[in-house]
């Protein structure tokens, strides 16, 4: 099996691992970089369970070849700020948890780019994260709450 040295910045830390040439970003995060918070759902770019931020942009890590992550910044669910987790816990954003790592990363992206919400409704925004338990009510409640506390923080 062909391998290569992959260096990237994972949740703020520079790291290097020897990984398979044909691995996906999702695989190396989970099995080489010891960051199993990111989950595989469909492996086809539909369900969004594997969402991460790649250089600050929301992507499905199952569709990113690992070699394209070389030298780039990756943020995963593991680096979620505790106060955001608290908000999402309080609003019932997570139920069974399978979709949660991806849901959290989509929410983090929107918090960094709240202007996206001006042109897209929150439910449409979350359409790339398939959740089969919450009926999305808890997810949208968490997203609204998080956007509000973000706006408040920006004011103060």
């Amino acid at each position: 099996m062909d391998k290569f040295d992959l260096s990237l910045t994972l949740n703020g830390k520079s790291e290097t691992r020897r990984v398979a040439l044909d691995a996906r970003l999702l695989d190396v995060l989970r099995y080489d970089f010891g960051s199993p918070g990111t989950k595989e759902g469909c492996g086809e770019g539909e369900c969004g369970a594997c969402c991460v931020l790649l250089d600050g942009v929301l992507v499905n890590s199952c569709l990113v070849p690992a070699f394209q992550a070389a030298g780039r910044r990756i943020e995963t669910v593991e680096s979620t700020p505790p106060d955001l987790l608290q908000t999402l816990n309080a609003t019932g954003t997570s139920q069974c948890g399978a979709c949660t790592p991806g849901v959290v990363m989509s929410i983090r992206w929107l918090l960094q780019h709240p202007e996206i919400a001006e042109s897209v409704g929150l439910r449409a925004f979350m359409s790339g994260n398939l959740c089969r338990c919450t009926g999305y009510d808890g997810i949208i409640a968490g997203l609204e709450q998080a956007l509000q506390s973000n706006a408040k923080k920006a004011e103060t």
């Binding site: 062909d2 040439l21 044909d22 996906r24 492996g43 086809e44 770019g45 539909e46 969004g48 969402c51 942009v57 929301l58 992507v59 499905n60 199952c62 569709l63 990113v64 070849p65 070699f67 394209q68 989509s106 996206i116 897209v120 449409a124 925004f125 359409s127 790339g128 994260n129």
Partner: protein, 272 residues
């Protein structure tokens, strides 16, 4: 598996001329679907993601929009100027998968992959786009309408790379796009259509109703003659010579034909 990661277009084109010809990869949103089930031993990839420069640029001038081959759907959505100049591009971009796909998928990749269900291609073809192909032998421009010759077959030669897409800016009298799928968001098209009427005339481009995204020329010439339609069935009869829908896992030929003619009938009644 082999991976080439050139930093310049010059190197990329040299690699495209090698044997076996590598498969270009940009956003990977088509290539990596169900990646672990795919045989990869003999695969050679040419990663375009480090090329940047001209390939990543989007240029809007007084008479043309040029999308570098690495332009993503998100680049268009996030550009108010481009979205205003070519509203259907933004509208179609928002309906390609979810945002996680839109941030990675490229317009050139959508053309290159050649899926009959490609959602980026109908609007580009309706806007009369040109595909810019380049190889070590030179550069040539091909009309997107005419780019496909069969199911996943194109006029691109093995050593050529799509480097840009050019769209002329024209005064338009009508433009709209409709996508029909199993649900509102994140769905693969059962039937779709983009319609533009500009100074060069009508262009009606449908997807998922033929082996490749195609213009409906019989309907176009009827519209050109100013024909008004009394029923969807009238449009359906004309379309019979324009499209060749099939039954597959997503829909049936009859559904596709019926829905396409109804969408066209009601939208044309509104906007024509």
């Amino acid at each position: 598996m082999q991976v080439h990661r050139p930093y310049t277009l010059h190197d990329a084109l040299a690699l495209m001329a090698a044997t076996p010809t590598p498969t270009p990869i940009a956003g990977g949103t088509d290539l990596l679907v169900s990646w672990h089930h795919k045989p990869k031993e003999k695969l050679a990839l040419l990663d375009l993601s480090q090329l940047g420069g001209e390939l990543a640029a989007m240029r809007l001038t007084a008479d043309t929009l040029e999308l570098g081959a690495l332009t993503t759907y998100w680049d268009v959505i996030a550009s108010p100027e481009v979205s205003r100049a070519f509203p259907l591009l933004a509208e179609a971009a928002r309906q390609v998968g979810a945002m996680q796909i839109q941030t990675r998928g490229t317009w050139a990749g959508n053309i290159g992959n050649g899926s009959p269900a490609a959602d980026g291609v109908p609007v580009l073809m309706a806007y009369d786009a040109t595909v810019v192909l380049q190889s070590t032998r030179g550069r040539r421009e091909v009309q997107l309408d005419g780019y496909y010759t069969g199911y996943k077959k194109t006029v691109r030669l093995p050593d050529e790379l799509i480097v840009a897409i050019q769209i002329p800016r024209r005064t338009r009298k009508a433009e709209w796009f409709e996508k029909v799928g199993a649900r509102a968001a994140q769905t693969i098209t059962k039937v779709g259509v983009a319609v533009v009427n500009d100074e060069k005339g009508w262009r009606v481009v449908a997807n998922s109703v033929a082996p490749y995204v195609c213009r409906c020329r019989n309907l176009e010439s009827a519209l050109q003659k100013g024909q008004k339609f009394k029923s969807p069935e009238e449009i359906r009869d004309i379309l019979k010579n324009d499209i060749a829908p099939i039954n597959d896992m997503r829909s049936t030929a009859a559904y596709r034909e019926t829905v396409l003619s109804r969408v066209l009938f009601y939208r044309l009644a509104d906007k024509a």
